[in-house]
């Protein structure tokens, strides 16, 4: 399966010899571990007593390759992050592939390799999987679904629900919003200007582990993916019936993201990310948590950007750099470039 022009055919999904070759020659080879090697219908996992976190996500992205990653690294990191922000330690992943007939095998290999690499770096095993091939035109090149299982300590049980969020808590972000979305727009060649922007696609667990080790007062975490930071802030205010006050001057926005947003008339708060977490932390521990985050590659620009307040419950408000105030509304439709 190494020819440069070799393409996936319907035979690679028919359960026969081609499919077997694809599975053993690619998935088993790169994902290699004691569970997947068994090729049982279900992976049998040994678990400690306690709680499991379980999540699933499907990945459809155009283009499949972009500066800073590809659909494979995205599919692994995205699910790892969903586990990590729930306070869980990611342990096992599944991977399901829906491949369009005619898809280039070299590209598939690159994608599977980067999935294997991300999983290995994270110390997580891809233990089970599935492959389907559909007729040309019935899917856009490649869709990937990953599910993840993580283990969760008792003391972190409330992080996902945010039930301990209270007025005065600080809101923290680990870096600039908007890098992923802007990198994708660039990769789609929608605009004729060049930047050095890369997707922020990354596994956040190493940083989150440091955060949780530094403080027992992390009250809520959520990764800000589609819909951006604005969506997570609205979710927190709605879920916890809390007011949110963000200070625009404290938000670390990458200069290239900022410049592109200015040109297009976009708001970085609504642009997608794949490596950004919003955390709500007790005011007494917030600085400590930020210091811990800065020790990780994914948290170098971590900053406190605002706080939870008793005012305007259910609403997120932005104090603008010019000193005005406005509501951070929920995203309705995708942002479109300004006309003039």
């Amino acid at each position: 399966m190494t020819g440069k022009t070799e393409r996936i055919s319907l035979n690679h999904g028919n359960g026969g010899i081609y499919m077997n070759r694809l599975i053993t020659g690619m998935f088993l080879r790169f994902f290699e571990n004691e569970y997947i090697r068994e090729q049982t219908d279900s992976a049998i996992l040994r678990v400690k007593a306690g709680h499991l976190a379980y999540t699933t996500d499907s990945f459809v992205i155009d283009p499949l390759f972009f500066p800073g990653g590809n659909i494979g690294s995205l599919a692994v990191c995205g699910t790892l992050n969903d586990l990590a922000v729930s306070g869980a330690k990611p342990e096992y992943l599944s991977a399901g592939f829906i491949i369009e007939e005619g898809f280039n095998v070299v590209q598939l290999t690159r994608i599977v390799k980067s999935m294997a690499m991300e999983a290995r770096k994270a110390g997580v095993r891809i233990v089970t999987g599935d492959t389907k091939v559909v007729n040309a035109g019935k899917c856009d090149k490649l869709f990937i679904n990953t599910s993840g299982i993580g283990t969760l300590e008792e003391k972190h049980l409330s992080i996902g629900s945010g039930r301990n969020v209270k007025s005065g808590d600080k809101i923290i972000i680990n870096g600039s919003p908007g890098e992923h979305g802007m990198a994708i727009m660039q990769a789609r060649k929608l605009f004729a200007f060049k930047t050095s922007l890369k997707s922020d696609c990354a596994n956040l667990y190493p940083m989150i582990r440091r955060m949780l080790a530094s403080s027992r007062q992390v009250h809520f975490m959520r990764d800000a993916t589609r819909g951006g930071v604005a969506t997570v802030l609205n979710e927190i205010s709605r879920k916890c019936n809390a007011g949110i006050e963000i200070d625009e001057t404290l938000m670390p926005v990458n200069n290239e993201v900022k410049a592109m947003c200015e040109i297009l008339g976009f708001d970085p708060l609504y642009i997608a990310n794949e490596g950004k977490v919003i955390a709500v932390v007790d005011a007494n521990d917030a600085e400590k948590v930020v210091v811990a985050m800065k020790h990780s590659d994914t948290g170098r620009q971590a900053a406190i950007i605002g706080e939870i307040t008793n005012d305007h419950p259910g609403k997120a408000v932005l104090k603008t750099s010019s000193g005005g105030r406005r509501i951070i509304d929920e995203l309705m439709s995708d942002q479109l470039p300004r006309i003039c």
Partner: protein, 364 residues
């Protein structure tokens, strides 16, 4: 300078400067005045930055007709919809327009039903679409003022030079001065205009002379940052307090007195001015841009002779009054409950720079 700051942007958002301007306005403003921010970009900037909090109560800001999507007439949308239904026709347009309701449908609904409608970021992309689909007829739905009209004109000139035979423009391009004069002559009280920055970058500022000299209104061309807008308000307040009306330019870093002669030349090469219908203002004499005889082969309204059914006015929608500064979005009984960004009834709720959409987004 701090390397994390963006030049020409961050310094115009400086909170100390904004507060200073706000105090100056408060100190000299005595009369109860109504200022119209003409451009949708200004409406957006004012509410996005919460600038009304920096103005005294005696200064009332009105949103104007400078949002290209908002002023597109229902008939124009209906016309585009009919073209989109013709076999072999690909429509291309700028984003927001596809959501604007026509009389019976919208381009978005037509797209869902199978019409080939593409959203583009530049009219030059449409030439590429035409080249790649040479068996199709590709129609660009051209909206916008002096800001976007030169690009449409340039596309036509290029299409001519390259011998493209399947590219057409359905023009709803408009020019600003006649609309502003019609507003000044109308019954809305407007003491001064915060004049559009990017239109003026093309036209220069002689186009506003009649507003100050004949209609005795203050005119200040303004940039789009918080300090720009407050500085412009301050300049207008001074003019109005002193009853001394003239055209001033706050946006000196972009706007030159003579504008952009090359852009003006290409517009004049391709377009002629005609009477045009504006949502809200009705037909404004000599305010529209139609393709002139020399480039008539690119005119979609001539190439496709279609029957556009009689337009149906939308019931209860007061977009027209909002675009002329007579009413505020919250005065409309449809606002928020019936008409909202999920279900826009009028164009002002569709465009991200439409007054209703901006009010809904930042003030709800």
């Amino acid at each position: 300078m701090n390397p994390d700051r963006l030049r020409y942007i961050d310094e115009f958002r400086d909170s100390a400067l904004v507060r200073h301007l706000s105090h100056q306005i408060g100190n000299i403003s005595r009369k109860h005045i109504h200022l119209m921010e003409v451009c949708g970009g200004h409406t957006m900037a004012i509410h996005k930055n919460g600038l009304t909090d920096f103005l005294p109560d005696n200064i009332n800001l009105l949103s104007g007709p400078g949002c290209p999507v908002c002023v597109s007439s229902q008939r124009f949308i209906d016309h585009a919809i009919v073209l989109g239904r013709l076999p072999g026709v690909i429509l291309a347009t700028y984003g927001d327009l596809i959501r604007v309701p026509g009389s019976r449908s919208s381009l978005e609904k037509e797209k869902a039903k199978g019409a080939d409608i593409r959203i583009v970021y530049s009219v030059l992309d449409v030439l590429e679409i035409a080249k790649q689909n040479h068996k199709n007829q590709v129609v660009f739905i051209g909206i916008g003022f002096e800001t976007t009209a030169p690009a449409s004109a340039a596309a036509i000139v290029r299409a001519q030079a390259e011998g493209l035979k399947n590219f057409y423009l359905l023009s709803s391009h408009k020019v600003m001065p006649p609309a502003l004069e019609s507003l000044a002559a109308g019954d809305t009280r407007i003491d001064g205009f915060i004049a559009p920055g990017h239109v003026s970058a093309i036209t220069g500022y002689r186009i506003y002379q009649k507003l100050s000299e004949v209609y005795k209104r203050g005119v200040v061309i303004s940039g789009f940052e918080p300090a720009d807008i407050l500085q412009s308000v301050l300049m207008l307040v001074k003019q109005i307090e002193l009853n001394h009306y003239h055209v001033e330019n706050e946006y000196t870093r972009v706007v030159r007195p003579e504008g952009n002669p090359r852009a003006l030349a290409i517009m004049n090469e391709v377009f002629i001015t005609v009477d045009a219908e504006w949502r809200g203002l009705g037909v404004v004499p000599r305010s529209g841009l139609a393709i002139g005889e020399k480039y008539a082969a690119f005119d979609a309204s001539l190439r496709f002779m279609v029957n556009v059914p009689e337009s149906l006015p939308s019931k209860g929608c007061i977009c027209g009054e909002i675009l002329t500064g007579k009413s505020r979005p919250s005065d409309c009984r449809l606002f928020s409950s019936v008409c909202n960004p999920f279900n826009p009834v009028g164009a002002c709720m569709v465009s991200s720079e439409g007054a209703c959409s901006v009010f809904y987004k930042f003030r709800s």
